[in-house]
Amino acid sequence: MLLRGNILNSILLLVLLACALSVVTSQHKARKLLIELQSEKDVAQQLEVEWGQLQLEQSTWATPSRIGKIAEQKLQMQLPGVEQITLIRVEPNGQTKHQP
């Protein structure tokens, strides 16, 4: 009886010790992960900022006036006249048909 009680107690003691240590390690892990999360969040924000700047840059390069100028002056292109455009209507059955 007494012996069995002692064994139980020492097992519980060991379990308690294990629990206590795991609390410490998981707390440590949690903090490490949080730091990681935080730095990822910073990266995400940095990327978002960059995305905004890239969008801006793209739309600045792609302004119709700039494209028009390059197309006309550098590439010697011109807007086709109405006579040079043919509209083709795609019928529901996939057939194409010339517009008058």
Binding site: I35, V49, G52, Q53, S59, T63, L79, V82, L87, Q99
Partner: protein, 576 residues
């Protein structure tokens, strides 16, 4: 040995019993005191220590929120906030030699004397050296590594489309709050609210635990406008060319989708560059198409005629005695530019007869005419919710005298803004239905209001088509391959209550007439290079914008490609 024994004897002999009791009592009181203090600090007045403890590791950090993006209907960015750094200094901490200061001044593009003065002769703890620098310069400043010279992150708004959209979008101030235009109107939607949260930081400044939000940051919402930036560019380019060519004071263009009431383009010239507002005049900031009113002139005639057709007193073929171009009401005389003895109602629209329009107006009860105009949206807001929108003026019918009833029929004695005028024409383009104007992209159609019957609008539409034909006032508004319906307007400007020889030229129309997809209104203020008629000045702008826009939208042709200058009689005979 003897000594030790006697010492022991001494001690035991001299200890009285009460001493232990007193000592015990004192200790007990001491413990009670400690216990009391402990209970007090832990249980009753516990926040003091809690605060002291928190102050060691807990910090409140700001969580920034950015202002929402404004984009066009296809998602192209029109206004974007992006962080920029400002360089500031804490003068008392600055340590820099002459060489470094000279380098810093060079990077910032300032005189080194000025930089030195800011750094050393200032009693403040915080001086801006330069605000909102581009990233490349910031890197150079950082690489100098001067103690006491620091960076601060701020948001700055950029407008990639620049002057093309500046009056619609408006702009924001230094603190990124809307000051003009849609930036102001949509402030609540766009603005972000920075939040804050409490965290636990370790010795190295890492956040190790997130205790909780004090205030959740609210990022600004992105807003999609109804504007199509391609059509907007087109409209702005053609308008700018025309204003310069005709030496006009200013000009505006509005392009609407008649089916939904969405504004596809709204351009004004002169304009300004919102990215660099150092030399901006107040005049160029105004969104004239919405905030300025003018007397529309002949572009009002279709509404007069529609009111009369609706009640059934006339139709397109009714002949009106146009009195050889001069018609007297009391002491006032109304003149026609192209005098005729008689005209059909269709010809009154086609040739823009003032006498004819006045006679039709006078044959109506004033209330009926007033109702038709009010129902068409004149004298009331368009629903655009643009800041500073001018509703225009439609005088109360009770104050109308016959001369006013006559002049209003051809657009004098009434004031409108260009957006309002364009919106009113959606009635003819959209089978009599009038929708509220929207500057934002609509997900689902909004309910409109039926103003005129299908029969009336079909008849008016056919009349408006003849305007761009040979014999009409605006053959130059013709678009190759598409049928055009529209009306010219040329009105004298009012100055100090008198009409002067300066003009406002306008054209409002829609294409393709068989199934309208675009309503375009063009207005030029004081064209003064020889030409001033709406058909000469505004018509070609309409034609250029409409032709290119229809191709961009891949709208099928509804007329043969050799339709320019069609013989009008042919069509009139068939359709009216």
């Amino acid at each position: 040995m003897n000594y030790a024994a006697s010492a022991h004897q001494d001690i035991t002999a001299k200890l009285p019993g009460w001493r232990a009791a007193v000592l015990f009592g004192v200790l007990l009181i001491g413990f009670a005191g400690l216990l009391g203090r402990g209970v007090y600090l832990q249980g009753i007045n516990d926040d003091f220590l809690q605060k002291k403890g928190d102050a060691r590791y807990s910090r409140v950090v700001e969580v920034s929120a950015h202002r929402g993006m404004i984009s066009d209907r296809n998602g192209e960015p029109l206004a974007v906030s992006t962080p920029v750094e400002s360089v500031w200094a804490s003068p008392s901490d600055v340590e820099a030699d002459e060489g470094k200061i000279r380098k810093l001044a060079k990077i910032l593009g300032m005189e080194s004397n000025k930089v030195r003065q800011r750094l050393f002769n200032s009693k403040r703890d915080f001086v801006y050296l330069k605000r909102q620098l581009p990233p490349a310069q910031i890197e150079k400043v950082v690489s100098l590594n001067i103690p006491g010279v620091l960076l601060q992150r701020e948001y700055r708004r950029y407008y990639p489309t620049g002057e093309q959209t500046s009056q619609i979008l408006g702009f924001t101030g230094k603190d990124d709050n809307g000051q003009e235009g849609l930036e102001l109107a949509l402030q609540d939607l766009l603005a972000g609210e920075p939040g804050s949260k409490r965290v636990i930081k370790d010795r190295r400044g890492h956040i190790v635990e997130d205790i909780g939000s004090l205030r959740v940051p609210k990022h600004g919402n992105d807003v999609e406008l109804s504007i199509d930036s391609n059509i907007q560019y087109l409209a702005y380019r053609e308008l700018k060319d025309a204003v310069i060519k005709h030496k006009a004071k200013s000009g505006s263009v509005v392009v609407l989708d008649p089916r939904s009431g969405e504004v596809l383009a709204l351009a004004n010239y002169p304009s300004f560059n919102p990215n660099n507002r150092s030399k901006v005049s107040v005049q160029s900031i105004r969104n004239r198409a919405i905030t300025d009113v003018f007397e529309p002139g002949s572009t009002m005639k279709p509404f007069t005629v529609a009111a009369a057709v609706e009640v059934g007193i006339i139709d397109a073929n009714t002949t009106v005695d146009t009195e050889n171009g001069v018609f007297a009401i009391g002491r006032r005389k109304i003149h026609d530019l192209h005098p005729e003895a008689t005209m059909t109602v269709a010809q009154i629209i086609q040739k823009s007869s003032n006498v004819g329009a006045a006679k039709i107006a006078l044959s109506l009860e004033p209330e009926i005419l007033w109702n038709a105009l009010a129902e068409s949206g004149f004298g009331a807001s368009t629903g655009s919710e643009f800041p500073g929108e001018a509703a225009g003026k439609l005088r109360d019918v009770k104050t109308w005298r016959p001369i006013e009833q006559a002049t209003i029929s051809y657009g004098h004695g009434i004031s409108v803004n260009l957006l309002q005028l364009a919106r009113a024409y959606t009635i003819f383009a959209n089978n009599g239905e009038l929708k509220p104007i929207s500057l934002l992209k609509l997900d689902k159609p909004v309910a409109g209001r039926k103003v005129f019957s299908d029969r009336t609008t079909n008849s008016i539409r056919a009349m408006l088509e003849t305007v761009a034909h040979e014999g009409g006032t605006a053959p130059l508004a013709q678009v190759t391959g598409y049928r055009v319906a529209g009306k010219t307007g040329t009105s004298h400007k009012l100055e100090n209550g008198k009409y002067v020889k300066r003009y406002i030229a306008s054209f409002v129309g829609f294409v393709p007439a068989s199934d309208p997809r675009l309503v375009i209104a063009v207005m030029l203020d004081e064209p003064s290079n020889g030409q001033h008629y709406g058909g000469q000045v505004a018509g070609p702008i309409f034609s250029k914008i409409a032709g290119t826009a229809l191709h961009m939208m891949k709208v099928p042709n509804d007329a043969p490609l050799d339709n320019n200058h069609l013989v009008s009689n042919d069509l009139m005979g068939r359709e009216i």
